[in-house]
Symmetry: C2
Subunit: 180 residues, 2 copies
């Protein structure tokens, strides 16, 4: 079982931290193998940025994500740019207020107001990346809810634990009915 996740958005939306947390949830708290990576090419100066996580029960010999199971896109630009490797039966999660045009494809699309949830339910736009982790884990079950919560709490700045726990749980909640 190998599961590939690509987290994409604009610089500053915390996609690398989200990737690190997801990988640590899998490896440290759920006893799986994981890799987390960023690659930067000549396009690195542009606005879209991505971070990738591969989770597997086995050793991961090839750490490049080429066959994406789940793509998160927090901006329209990131969505267009990074949808290419999404599997035909994969999952596309978009921030419904920031991505208006859905690329054609046979993948499933989940529209979630991720940034709005961060703003309205948690009170801080900056935790949109943690809301997104709640959404991703709620939909895919790629790691357990307790593992992702432990990993979030271990990585966020001291003093912000409650805020981030709230953000994560708001993400779970947003897709509770969708993922059944």
């Amino acid at each position: 079982m190998r599961y590939e996740v690509r987290l994409s958005g604009a610089g500053g939306q915390g996609m690398i931290l989200a990737g690190v947390i997801l990988a640590e949830a899998a490896a440290i708290y759920d006893d799986k193998n994981a890799t987390q990576s960023q690659s930067y090419g000549p396009e690195a100066r542009g606005g879209a940025s991505k971070s990738e996580v591969i989770i597997s029960d086995e050793d991961i010999f090839y750490p490049k994500a080429t066959n994406i199971d789940l793509l998160l896109a927090l901006t329209q630009e990131a969505c267009q740019k990074y949808v290419g490797d999404l599997k035909p039966d994969g999952i596309l999660v978009i921030d419904e207020d920031l991505v208006q045009t859905i690329p054609d494809g046979t993948f499933s699309v989940f529209r979630v107001p991720i940034t709005k949830i961060a703003q309205e339910k948690v009170g801080k736009v900056i935790v949109a990346n943690i809301v997104a982790l709640g959404v991703i884990v709620g939909l895919s079950k790629v790691v357990s809810e307790t593992a992702i919560e432990s990993a979030v709490l271990a990585r966020v700045p001291r003093g912000t634990e409650d805020l981030n726990r709230k953000a994560l749980r708001a993400g779970f909640e947003a897709v509770k009915d969708l993922s059944k």
Copy 2:
């Protein structure tokens, strides 16, 4: 030209952030290609942790570091655990107060009091990872000094720019004579 860097230490020493900054220096400010990654296996619960950066003038097709040009080791445990893939003519940089036993090998060894510099010259142990970046770039020239400084300033928390600039420059300074 492909250059592989492995940054290792204990959890909490900021090796992932250092790796991200080094990769962004190469790609965003020096116009090279770069990948940055963490892999976590069953040993992820242990105390040693690593982060890897590959920098190249060409596209990077194989993003796994297997032939390390430069290994940073901030703890004895990390040094033992991660020295294995260091090239025979590679560079080993150790924190001389935290790594007492140098593994056998034909690589060059640079002993630098990285954590002590962070404490005594900058006043904050927490910036040891940024001092280490100054040391690595000073010795290897794998990215330019202006690129690494720009990348550091773009990534550190707002309000800590001066502190981190000072840490980086203290790292350059510490190896100025060694690298000539």
